[in-house]
């Protein structure tokens, strides 16, 4: 799809060679070519656009908001707020604005893309988020520290162990509690299993967007194996709430290690099979290579992290750069790409799955004996048998269950390497048993900023592939 001939030049603002652009277009061009985001028109659009402007032919929202169908009224207000900024282009160019989403199978959730097309070439794309806003951060403020874990887990719903880990890590930093080594290793095993699972879902859905259906079934077959392991160790397939403040909820059950080892033997062969199907596949090569390229500098300017940045050749991985939870004990490599196109992103993610398997293997081999949650009774619940014999334990249990733990006042930011990049959780404590503020730096949200630069000047079909390779998770973006 990256043929040279039919694609009009990469820079939409630049007039074609030999064509005299009118001064008005120059003026309109100026902010766009300067690399600015044209903030002022955007804000004007959000507030309703200039009345009578060329692109504002939308009916006013009805003044009467008290009608029987308040939802319909709200729906029109959404249409109204989403005006495109004007795209400067050539005189004879005919621009077409199409709206993708929020219900569209290729947007991986409820993302909405306002796309301006010139023919088949994307001239501008404006992601509109917020359709899955759940108020998770606000809800977490209203819950005790350990009761906030379930809502935090439901943000990025393909990386629930990572969400819990970032939050739990921040609270542990505030509490200055020592996490036992066994708990750290168990966390690493589950985190890396989660990473593989997330990449598998990414692989299946991305190839589905490119038109390859069968890989979806293969990827989901392996995903089911991983979910069986999660269910085995915690009782739930998704949102397991396995990570506790101070450790993990339970030790791994008997037989879990054997199941994991079976998976570790099986999975590399499966990845080889995916590679055999996709890596040299002509369609995959032509759809992904040299598409959606963005240089490392541009990516860093947007704050992009994770496989996207590594695909551009920057070996930035928080597991190496800021190791926490015993990641420094394991020997693994950071896969990087060379060009930063979609094909590199695919290669990096597949290579990451292999590295994750290496980490899991080392962690299960070196899994230390000992407690799986801290002995600190102010933080972790006492074991069940102690409740029958110890009054002290009963009091601790009562205090923890009713009020929760008191966390010393302060702030903590704990960042880990999620499947999509830096996933950080900021927690501010005012000394009470509920967090004063929880904020999450979600990688999908930050990475989505770079999407416009990736997609501009591409074909619309390539825009779909680029979005898929960006791997945005709307639950994490909107929170």
């Amino acid at each position: 799809m990256s043929d040279e001939t039919p694609k009009p030049g990469g820079d939409p603002a630049a007039p074609a060679a030999g064509e005299a652009a009118g001064p008005s277009h120059r003026e309109q061009d100026a902010p766009a070519t300067a690399g600015e985001r044209q903030a002022a028109p955007d804000i004007a659009d959000l507030l309703g656009g200039e009345p009578g402007g060329p692109l504002t032919a939308v009916a006013d929202p009805p003044a009467d908001q008290s009608g029987p169908s308040a939802y319909r009224v709200q729906e029109q207000s959404i249409d109204f707020s989403a005006q495109l900024r004007q795209v400067a282009t050539r005189d004879d160019a005919e621009l077409l604005t199409i709206n993708m989403g929020p219900h569209h199978p290729a947007t991986h959730g409820v993302l909405r893309l306002l796309t301006t097309l010139e023919g088949e070439v994307v001239r501008d794309v404006k992601p509109i988020v917020g359709y899955l806003h759940t108020g998770i951060e606000k809800t977490a403020e209203d819950k005790a520290y350990w009761k906030a874990i379930p809502v935090i887990e439901r943000m990025d719903y393909l990386a629930y162990y990572f969400n819990a880990m970032a939050y739990v890590g921040a609270v542990e930093d505030l509490l200055e509690v020592e996490v036992p080594k066994r708990a750290q290793y168990l966390r690493v095993i589950h985190l890396e299993l989660n990473r593989i699972m997330s990449h598998l879902v990414w692989l299946g859905t991305t190839m589905l967007d490119l038109g390859a259906i069968s890989i979806f079934w293969y990827a989901f077959r392996e995903r089911e194996t991983i979910l069986d392991l999660f269910e085995y160790s915690s009782g739930q397939r998704m949102h397991t709430r396995y990570f506790q403040i101070g450790g993990v909820a339970e030790d791994i059950p008997a037989g879990w290690e054997q199941s994991l080892r079976r998976f570790l033997v099986e999975m590399p062969k499966r990845i080889d099979q995916y590679d055999a199907m996709l890596k040299r596949n002509e369609i995959v090569l032509r759809r992904l290579r040299h598409v959606g390229v963005l240089s490392a500098e541009q990516l860093q300017a947007w704050g992009v992290t994770g496989p996207l940045l590594r695909a551009a050749g920057v070996p930035w991985d928080l597991r190496k750069a800021m190791p926490s939870s015993s990641y420094e004990d394991f020997d693994f490599q950071i896969p990087v790409g060379t060009e930063g196109d979609n094909y590199d992103r695919y290669l990096v993610r597949v290579a990451e799955m292999r590295q994750s398997l290496r980490i899991i293997e080392q962690a299960i081999d070196g899994l230390p004996e000992g407690p799986w949650i801290t002995e600190d009774r102010k933080v972790a619940l006492p074991p069940r048998h102690e409740l029958a014999t110890s009054m002290e334990a009963l009091i601790h249990h009562f205090k923890l269950v009713t009020e929760g733990m008191r966390v010393p006042a302060g702030e903590a930011y704990h960042a880990i390497e999620g499947p999509r990049g830096e996933l950080g959780c900021f927690v501010r404590s005012d000394g009470s048993s509920k967090p004063a503020r929880v904020h999450v730096r979600d990688p999908s949200f930050v990475n989505l900023q770079a999407f416009g630069d990736m997609a501009r000047g591409e074909y619309i079909a390539d825009m779909i592939a680029t979005l898929a390779c960006l791997d945005p998770l709307l639950g994490g973006i909107d929170r």
């Binding site: 939802y71 959730g109 899955l132 439901r154 299946g204 079934w217 089911e224 709307l474």
Partner: protein
Amino acid sequence: MEVIRSGGAQAATLSEADKVAFRARQSRARDLLRGELEGEELEQHVRDSVITTTLDKATKWAQGNSIFPLTFGLACCSIEMMSLVGARMDISRFGGEAMRGTPRQSDLIILAGRVSMKMAPVVRRVYDQMLEPKYAIAMGACSSSMGVFNNYAIVPADKFMPVDVHIPGCPPRPEAVMYGILKLRKMIQDDPTMGWRDRYKAHGTEELPPAEDGARA
């Protein structure tokens, strides 16, 4: 020709009288195809080999076995909904594997995940765009009752659209979703009064073509 019928050991081997009756039916069918069957024999043949039913029932049988769900994922539950199509659960056993990308081709909308206040009008519009007969499943705790997010941002599906089946869970296992879809099939085929129109006393609200003045239906 040996015919083996299920249901007990003695039915496995046919008695001599059964074989004679079976051959008689075969020859009658052959005669029918040749056009040589008439009178009493023809009526006997029709009694033996034709099931009479109402068109209504036959349609419902077909509808229940070919539910086209809408590809519509909202949040966590949509991942479990995708694994419903996967090899382990394989919804195509029940004729539901044809996921449609557009509401105009689909019979069933599965609200897989939490519906936010911003998304609710969109969901409603998508539901309105579906053609009758249409069904809705609220999958998971969030779209049924807001689940763990009892806050300002989430709205339960019952508040803005009719729902036929609620599936509990956070997220529900694929088996649970399958059970919900089978419940829906049973509802379509056997007892349509289990549906929302009866519960909401909304008979007569079936959607009709738009009026002449161009008003949107």
